[in-house]
Symmetry: C2
Subunit: 637 residues, 2 copies
């Protein structure tokens, strides 16, 4: 044990940092936690300029070092993801109720933009199912895609423009922090719910139903399908089931033999090609199997003049833009981060946001709709051995060639084939194992996940998302509002003091109650902390009375876990002290941290309580308390 | 120093608590932090029933013990607050654009209800300026109080009903936690801004202007006053200034000699009486000094049949009900708590909410509008020496007598006198000293306060309030999103490890980086914590390289300040560990707390990292690390 005579270590009451210094540090931690400008320090001007340009436009960083041996890998990966991009592009465009060719356009321009500004080496750009459906449900609620297809399409471009604008702005303002509030639980539930409703929607294509609801919830969709049983086409259903079985088989192969990932990667392309051949030779249309229909040759026409800012409709694209921006970022950044971690690289979320944003702004000018970095495509890209952003360029060139020469061939693609592709992709997004893991380990996370899932499946996508985000923010606020406090006891044969509930062998110190406060002391939890401390004291006194042991005389508040405090917090400490002193109890503080100490000095609380009642360690404080305890005993005797 | 051979204390890896037990504890801490049912434990049934009734209806607790010697004090206090209630009731009713008699009614029924259900001994019930203006600005935006006075009045009753309903519901659902989110800074700024606009509005009465804006912001009000200079009445202005000077003088007397508080307490009554006499004998109306006008004799008529739930208007009373419920509760509960602390008593916020709610529901049935516990009146009650809730009963009886016999006399009250009373009361609410104190001690609190002040003064009351509440919630979320981490060093001659920034004399341990994490590790801060840890490591490695000292080999994460962790948090720890191990660094955990340990065990993180790498104290962990450090050195040599 420490020598008592040496154990009174000095608490640092030095003057507080200047406001400017504290603010600068806080701002840095809030907006630049990854310290991106560190690398520019202490560099000559020319080198600094070069580094800054490389920082903002990563293509200047990787392209100069590029060589043929890297290209071999990227070429293969690029072709693989292009073969996935064609069927996915057509399918998801159908999901968004826009012409299929838009889906192909969207895999041409945005990947090129991303290759210039994006910083992830593995991310493959493409359209995503969830956002496609979100767009169609929000914009479709305002303008019918069937009655006014042109206006609807223009509003989709406008929504994409707003998405891009918001993403870029968020990136420049370093608001990556907002994405952090979409927790894994929310994303899991949202994706699962979306997958369910997308799968059900595909029953439309599988059964060849023509009259269909515009709503997305499970009940409306099921009612819509079963109330139009007269429109069902068994031929279509059989073809659909065969395709789906084939795709699920390719996935099964990938699962069993991860090296054969390409089997599942080219599966959708195989379905499209076989479907086209089948439709062409068997005159499928006459047998009730719908096909995609006319696809024009040629690359993306300009669409900048079609952006529609008519106040009559503007609310829908803005709403769609905001929601899809967040969802697309959450998906794109999460996947980018996951692969960066696998390779032990770093990724700057804010820079990625700018890249996504620019990609969508340019996309909205060139007849593309919302793109991001989808889970599935990125995984394929990674498995195919991509080395740099060049694989996106390769994919874009493949798409260009397709658009210029092959597009009309795909007009024979049977709709049911696309439905099978979408359904098969969606099965993988229902992560029931992850949900079960949540249920086992954290009931509240599971609850948030279920709210997202059920909300999306049974109410609507945006309401489900907002409900679950609201719930998870509420949880974050509850952590602030109800910080954990605990009573500490002495661990035998040591100078350690630990939670008596966690370490039942820890012994309490007679006459002294040691409380450890957690989290910031702060207006939403001040009342709670006050009540809680007073309750600890009441309980302790009751226990002492019933046991007939010494009444407590000292309260030690261990502030080591309190990271900050606001004015209301300091007022609370003052009130707690006043209440306890009125009961004849003495309050002692232990180990206030830097920011807390600054605030306690600035508000003169330290003068009020007395510097002699602030200690650096529990050991020191107890030593001092024991001294007064003994002396008071002596007086009594 | 502790003996090394004994220093390896055992970490408790015992099984976690059952889900039910953990949930029960969490719910208790969230909704019953003050443990109100403790007193009912271990009691026989009859006594328990009695205690429960006394708990819910406090009148049964204090009335049986009541005696004449207490009544002496309450009688005096009751008469004093009644003399304040008459002028305030009339004034604030004018502020709410409803007939003055409603203000008098509102000081008769609600105090009686509070006396039965309220638990604060010092609280005096009455109407408040801020809420009166809020009601008139929200409901006045929907229905004009001049063109449709009857409909307007009925909507005010309806708003009061909703207020009461919401307050009661919040109390029963133990949502006192919501009130905690209205911080002192918000309240200070809101009250200050409200005071400014109320004072400016009174210029209407002082100058006797008849055409006036319904908006509340500073610009509209000033423009309204100065664009109608032709309507100004100099006689009215002179009388107003004299009254105001008198009232300010009585306040000055109170400030200098607190024992003469009654001078300022009866000041408003003196103004009303002198004003009435003056108006009656000098025929003030003919000289451009407006009077209150006809007041009917008789107590409150029933108004339950006037509650208006017409869907056409319902949104206004609901909105007004919600906002005023929160503001009224914040004021009432804050003042109740303050006086309870002064007397070292306890107050149950949730029980008070139910009392306020019942008081407003009954009030809305009996021609009263919103009441709560106003700061000023409660302070007068306290200073006048009230002992129990009986003082409210005395005030109610005084009001009843006034309504039955004296009401018509007050019809001569000059409007300008009421304006002077309101203005004088408002000056005290502009707490510039408190704002300055905030500026000195906490810039963010000051900022929130200023947003409330400027928002209320220049935009509108509800927007100002919401903006500042939003900002303070944002701050609470930032605390969650950006927890403080720090590097620990060894304090010389001790076993203590403290922040090296706070204690510059703390020495770093060669080859080992000790980081202390604060706050819960939780989805909104996971990415940050990961980036921050990796940055600490990078900085440390760079520093080690530049100094040529030993490279770090161990990272110690002190989790003593981490109160809880969610699934995303555990995943983050896993990722951090993977990243660091890839760099050849070993991760060790120190002192995980109860809930964190449970989660780490449930998610099998403990098995992943190995139980041998979790330590109870930094000292133990360093001891273990040193062993491997030395051995690796030996291998190298």
């Amino acid at each position: 044990m420490a020598n008592p005579s040496e154990s009174l270590h000095k608490v640092n009451f030095a003057n507080k940092r200047s406001f400017g210094a504290a603010l600068k540090k806080d701002l840095k931690e809030t907006f630049f936690p990854d310290d991106p400008f560190k690398q520019f320090e202490n560099q000559p001007f020319s080198k600094k300029t070069k580094k800054v340009i490389q920082y903002f436009v990563p293509v200047f960083e990787w392209l100069p070092k590029y060589n043929l041996s890297l290209f071999k890998y990227d070429l293969l990966a690029g072709i693989t993801i292009a073969s996935l991009a064609i069927p996915q592009g057509i399918s998801y465009a159908k999901l968004a109720n826009i012409p299929p060719i838009i889906g192909l356009y969207s895999s041409f321009v945005p990947p090129l933009v991303y290759a210039v500004f994006g910083s992830s080496k593995h991310l493959a750009v493409g359209t995503v199912a969830a956002c496609s459906l979100l767009i169609s449900s929000i914009i479709g609620g305002k303008v019918s895609p069937i009655e006014e297809p042109e206006l609807y399409l223009h509003l989709v471009f406008t929504a994409t423009f707003f998405t891009g604008l918001l993403q870029t702005a968020m990136g420049f303002l370093r608001l990556g922090i907002l994405i952090d509030f979409l927790s894994h639980s929310v994303i899991t539930g949202f994706m699962g719910g979306t997958a369910i409703i997308i799968i059900l929607q595909q029953l439309k294509g599988v059964f060849g139903v023509t009259h269909f609801t515009t709503k997305t919830d499970v009940v409306s969709v099921l009612r819509s399908i079963f109330s139009h049983r007269d429109e069902w086409h068994w031929q279509s259903a059989i073809v659909g089931i065969i395709f789906l079985a084939f795709l699920q088989f390719t996935r099964f192969v990938k699962q069993k033999r991860p090296r054969l990932f390409w089997v599942s990667a080219i599966g959708p392309m195989v379905v499209v090609v076989i479907g086209c051949l089948f439709a062409y030779f068997a005159h499928a249309e006459k047998h009730g199997i719908a096909i995609v229909g006319h696809l024009t040759k040629g690359i993306n026409p300009l669409s900048i003049k079609h952006l529609n800012f008519d106040p009559k409709y503007i609310s829908a694209p803005i709403q769609a833009g905001i929601i899809t921006a967040m969802v697309a970022l959450a998906e794109g950044i999460a996947i980018g981060r996951s692969f960066a971690i696998m390779k032990n690289e770093q990724m700057d979320g804010n820079k990625e946001m700018v890249a996504f944003g620019l990609m969508n702004i340019v996309g909205s000018f060139t007849s593309c709709y919302l793109t991001t970095g989808p889970f599935s495509k990125t995984a394929v890209n990674f498995n195919a051995g991509c080395k740099t952003q060049m694989s996106n360029v390769v994919m874009a060139i493949c798409m260009m060639l397709t658009l210029l020469f092959l597009a009309p061939l795909f007009s024979y693609t049977p709709i049911v084939g696309l439905s099978a592709i979408i359904m098969s992709a969606m099965f993988g997004l229902i992560k029931y194992k992850k949900a079960y893991h949540m249920f086992k380990t954290d009931k509240f996370d599971f609850c948030i996940c279920m709210v997202a899932f059920i909300g999306v499946a049974f109410i609507s996508m945006d309401i489900g998302l907002m409900l679950s985000v609201g719930l998870s923010i509420l949880r974050a606020l509850l952590y602030v509002a109800r910080p954990v406090t605990c009573k500490l006891g002495s661990i035998p044969n040591s100078t350690l003091y630990r939670d008596v509930e966690q370490y039942p062998n820890a012994t309490e110190v007679p006459g002294i109650l040691i409380l450890k406060l957690g989290s910031p002391i702060y207006f939403p939890n001040c009342t709670y902390i006050k009540e809680r401390i007073l309750r600890w004291v009441r309980d302790e006194q009751a226990a002492a009375n019933s046991k007939g042991s010494d009444d407590i005389e000292h309260i030690l508040l261990d502030l080591g876990g309190v990271t900050s405090i606001d004015i209301t917090g300091v007022e609370t400490l003052t009130e707690v002290r006043r209440s306890l002193e009125a009961k004849g109890l003495k309050v002692t503080l232990v180990n206030p941290r830097l920011e807390v100490m600054e605030k306690l000095i600035a508000t003169k609380f330290v003068d009020l309580i007395g510097k002699e009642n602030v200690f650096l360690s529990i050991e020191d404080a107890i030593e001092a308390c024991r001294f007064t305890l003994k002396s008071s005993k002596q007086f009594e005797v």
